[in-house]
Amino acid sequence: MNPEQILFILFGAVSLIGAIAVISFRHPIYSALSLIVTFFAQAGLFVLLGAHFVAAVQVIVYAGAIMVLFLFVIMLLNLGTLSAKGAMSRKLKGFAVILGILLAIEGVYIAVNAINDPAVASAETATESVNTTTYNIGELLFNEYLLPFEVTSLILLAALIGVIVLVKRGNQEEN
């Protein structure tokens, strides 16, 4: 086994353990922390793929910003330990099982297809593109995917304005 394979197994295992821990812990703070561990392991997997930019963005956006907000909210609401009973209704359980099965089928389908896909095999040998991932992502975003990119930014802007309007209105009603 070469070092990359060892690292892949390591990051993959940490990512899986973290993901299982998210749903096993009874306390929301511990769940949130496990999710951060998972994000880190995934960033490690991105680095192994040579996608340094994506790895950095993963840590900055998810581990650095979104999860801090999660923790902030959990701490502010002072959520206690969830009880074993009543955490999930029977309907939700059935729904979760169906969704889980669908996701599993999808995963197996992608894995089987990827093994036979020649593009995956060629990507493994192409290691020289490592230094230009940021450049490549920029070029793709601002040429080929310019419209989706701009639409996404508009949607985010709309969400931002919506939040401000909601907060302002709430304040006025209180006053």
């Binding site: 922390l33 963005v57 900055i60 801090v68 907000l69 902030f72 701490m75 940021t134």
Partner: protein, 398 residues
């Protein structure tokens, strides 16, 4: 993989830098107390060793012999983990900072940098954004309302100022030519700035430089931004319940963050290891060592500014802190991005960009200040839910 260049030299570099950081922390603790003494016209510690230089060692020994108390009511795993979660990010950020040009030894060219990764600056931002976890978890695990308030303040403050931190760099990145390497690499940014003062980034991006530096101060949780541990209101904030070496780790992390932050500012804005061509004097070995010396001195001067600011400015009130971050710093860096981009495309002259940035920043600050004065409500402009989590003494008086 060859033994010398791939294994031994990186290990030597890592050991050297890690030890330099820890010795730097000790030196900073001494310097802080001596400089504050000097500023307040008193002596400061001068009994242990010459000029009190051994005082940090005495402090360290004292911390080690103190009882390592874990209160009964804390959340034990996180309580133990939190100091490490603050210290580790502070320690690993330095890996991408170039602390000198390069040395040629044994036929190898050794870059004076632990890892020159091509997204260096993003790595710095990513790791900096993790520093908040140590504070927040320490605060929450302490199971103490003062600690929790400190942690909440700190996380809100860090999220707000991180924006300025990230956006302040964009102007620099836009003007960094990616011909010599990835424009996001700290080494490329340092090389791209020439040998002379007027070629360094802080003159071209002066408003962004000020905003970035201010945000850096806020990220280290020091005065005037130490709302998280405001003694008069919160005992000691997030580290109220900590004692012995665990407290010392919080303390060390603060100073380590300062040192690494200064090194990053020197690299990004103050020309890195360049100083009027002095870095090219001497042979391949001496020029490398001199460049390291220049970088060291620049970082030390910037650290002095850190101490200077701490003992000069009083602490912000919480709403002032948020207003300053969101209404002044953020508009300044956003304008700086637009102005830098537009002027660079149209004129291509760094002089024009530099002047344009300063003028634009002046205009933005006057507009924001004007709007704030015009919209001044009879009541302080704090939403009620903010006031609940930050019961500052001043609000109670009002």
């Amino acid at each position: 993989m060859e033994l010398l260049p791939d294994i031994i030299i990186p290990i030597i570099k890592i050991l050297f830098i890690a030890h330099l950081l820890i010795i730097g922390v000790m030196a900073m603790i001494w310097a802080e107390r001596r400089v504050s003494g000097w500023m307040q016209d008193r002596l400061g510690p001068n009994r242990v060793g010459p000029q009190g230089l051994l005082q940090p060692i005495a402090d360290g020994l004292k911390f080690m012999f103190k009882e390592d108390l874990i209160p009964n009511h804390v959340d034990k795993p996180l309580y133990v983990l939190a100091p490490a979660m603050l210290l580790v990010p502070a320690l690993i950020t330095v890996a991408v900072v170039p602390f000198g040009s390069s040395i040629e030894l044994f036929g190898e060219t050794i870059n004076l940098q632990i890892a020159d990764i091509n997204i260096g600056i993003l790595y710095v931002l990513a790791i900096t954004s993790l520093g908040v976890y140590g504070v927040v978890l320490g605060a929450w695990a302490s199971n103490n309302k003062y600690s929790l308030l400190g942690g909440l303040r700190s996380s809100a403050q860090m999220i707000s100022y991180e924006l300025t931190l990230g956006l302040g760099i964009i102007g620099v990145l836009m003007l960094t030519d990616s011909a010599t390497g990835s424009a996001l690499s700290l080494r490329t940014i340092a090389i791209e700035q020439g040998a002379y003062l007027w070629q360094w980034n802080f003159l071209i991006h002066f408003p962004a430089f000020l905003a970035f530096t201010t945000a850096m101060f806020a990220e280290t949780n020091r005065l005037p931004f130490d709302l998280a541990e405001a003694e008069q209101e919160l005992v000691a904030g997030y580290h109220t319940e900590y004692s012995s070496m665990k407290f010392a780790m919080f303390f060390m992390a603060e100073y380590m963050n300062m040192i690494v932050g200064s090194a990053v500012v020197v690299t990004l804005f103050l020309g890195g290891w360049h100083f009027f061509g002095l870095e090219n004097v001497g042979g391949p070995v001496w020029s490398g060592l001199i460049s390291f010396g220049i970088f060291f001195v620049k970082t030390a001067i910037f650290l002095f500014v850190f101490i200077w600011v701490r003992w000069t400015l009083p602490r912000f009130r919480y709403d002032q802190l948020m207003n300053f971050g969101w209404k002044f710093l953020l508009p300044i860096v956003l304008t700086s991005i637009v102005v830098t981009g537009t002027l660079w495309i149209t004129t291509g002259s760094r002089l024009v960009v530099g002047i344009g940035n300063v003028v634009a920043a002046f205009i933005v600050v006057s507009i924001v200040a004007g709007l704030l004065v015009m919209n001044k409500a009879p009541e302080p402009a704090i939403p009620d839910n903010d006031r609940q989590i930050t019961p500052s003494a001043l609000d109670a008086i009002e």
